[in-house]
């Protein structure tokens, strides 16, 4: 192997600093959440304890965070499933140009670039004027989809742009119906990307703040609850909550990565069955 140029070492240091910049603050609050009962919001550590984690389980200390967590979890799953289904359908639709597809495409981009607070305000106003009650599972759900769907669709566009159409032609030649082609040929091939879409759908919803702000109604989601805490909680209990919910996100990300790896390994093991047919 050829000698590494000097720029490699400089850039490695730069990259390491960037990673430190990304993760350093989060690790810091991870450490600080183990503050002793008398500890403050910053170093030095005043002893080491699990005090602030136990505090999270006491209703009066922090409000209804477990209810908020349950709502965020439910909403995240709803958004995830909807995002996957609609993105796949949308991805299939956009493989062919149809009348109005250009306009719909620009609507998807608009959904991505529009300031979140406008969605929040607009949806809130509509529900208000129509006399509907805003609720996280209706107005909040729809508002979050305007943020997760563009990501899901962009992934699907990228996937279908690289999709080898001869697989479908082969299935059709063997007599598969259009539905069978999708169910037994297209979906299994794009399955790994669907895990990616699901990951985006869940995590973007679980952490969404601005679009839910005016559309969640009287029951807060977790990010709203955490933001409320920042104005009136001045103890490390907020670090403990931050650490727990970040760990939860990491578990979700890890599970998705694991699923992808298992899938890739299974594919490698089974390999192609070309020439081994009946």
């Amino acid at each position: 192997m050829e000698q590494r140029p000097r720029s490699f070492y400089i850039l490695t240091v730069f990259f390491a600093l960037f990673i430190l910049f990304l993760y350093g603050p989060t690790l810091t609050i991870g450490i600080l959440s183990f503050q002793g009962p008398q500890g403050g919001l910053t170093f030095p550590m005043n002893g080491v304890s699990m005090h602030w984690f136990f505090d999270l389980f006491e209703q009066q200390a922090v409000g209804d965070i477990w209810g908020a967590f349950r709502r965020s979890l439910a909403l995240g799953l709803m958004v995830m499933v909807t995002t996957v289904v609609i993105s796949v359908m949308g991805g299939l639709a956009f493989r062919k140009r149809f009348r109005g597809s250009g306009a719909l495409f620009y609507l998807i981009i608009a959904s991505l670039v529009i300031p979140s607070i406008l969605i929040s305000l607009g949806v809130g106003l509509i529900f208000n004027q129509l006399g509907f009650k805003i609720h996280w599972a209706t107005s909040g759900f729809g508002s979050q989809l305007t943020w997760t769907l563009p990501f899901g669709l962009l992934i699907m566009f990228a996937v279908f742009n690289r999709f080898d159409k001869s697989y479908e032609e082969a299935a059709r030649d063997q007599g598969a119906t259009p539905w069978q082609t999708i169910r037994y040929v297209v979906l299994p091939i794009i399955a790994p990307s669907l895990i990616g879409v699901a990951l985006f759908g869940f995590t973007l919803s679980y952490d969404e703040f601005a679009r839910t702000l005016l559309t969640a109604g009287s029951y807060n989601t977790l990010p709203l609850e955490i933001f409320g805490m920042t104005t009136n909680v001045t103890t490390p209990v907020i670090y403990a909550l931050g650490t727990l919910t970040t760990l939860f996100s990491l578990v979700i990300i890890g599970a998705c990565m694991l699923a992808l790896m298992v899938m890739a390994r299974r594919r490698a093991r089974h390999g192609s069955d070309a020439g081994r047919g009946v």
């Binding site: 990673i19 989060t26 609609i86 406008l118 607009g122 949806v123 769907l149 952490d207 955490i226």
Partner: protein
Amino acid sequence: MDRILKSRNVMGWAQASPLALILFGFLVLPILTITVVSFWRATEFSIIPAFSLENYAFLFGSDVTYRVFFATFKYAAITWALTLGIGFTVAFYLAFHIRSQTMQIALFLLCTIPFWTSNIIRMISWIPFLGRNGIANQTLISWGVIDEPLEWLLYSDFSVILAFVHLYTLFMVVPIFNTMMRIDRSLLEAARDAGASGFQTLVHVIFPLTKPGIMIGTIFVVTLVMGDFITVRFMSGSQKANVGRLISNDIALLQYPSAAATSVVLLCTVLLTIAILLRFVDIRKEL
């Protein structure tokens, strides 16, 4: 009947209808509503349908508006420059200096994981660093660089921009890395064979070919920063303002027509910015 089903227009719309419905109900309608309400009047406790330009007259007649829009552009420009510099360097390192593909994927994932965690927690996590008695001040004092804690670390333009860079650099790294990975490596060899130095290859070959990725990253970062209100509010301790905060303050005071008028102006500004940026890149070709 069969012919209708096979028509690509019918098929396309059948598959795209859930998407179209949601975008209509939760994107197009809300924007239309905001536009309509921006012409309404407000009293202290209710909003009244009307066709009045007073919200806009007030908005454009106030000094605050121009200052706040200027601040919004300032945040966007500084954040853009910093995220571009950092993002390009990181993407360049990953794409051209890491030789094993496994390592490349692992390091790329390391950069993207924070994107899937909560922005609010990531903002909160700067407090122990930047506070009056935070890590930064403690360290600088113990090194003897400063005698008294720096007051401008937290709740200032500095902390707002730091948080923006922290949250959004990733939106630069991903599209730039994506375009860099598609650059034909034989072009780099050709440049070297023709006698170009590493730096010349970077400036005259890699950079021009990376422009589409840079544009997509730019669109992300600029729109995210221009539409933000929560980062500015939290990281400036409510001491700084941008357009998003102007809107959210009006909402808090139940002045919906006024909030709607500001929203319409913000939306036009953002869309105009995007329209200009889109002249430089065809997004559909880049996917």
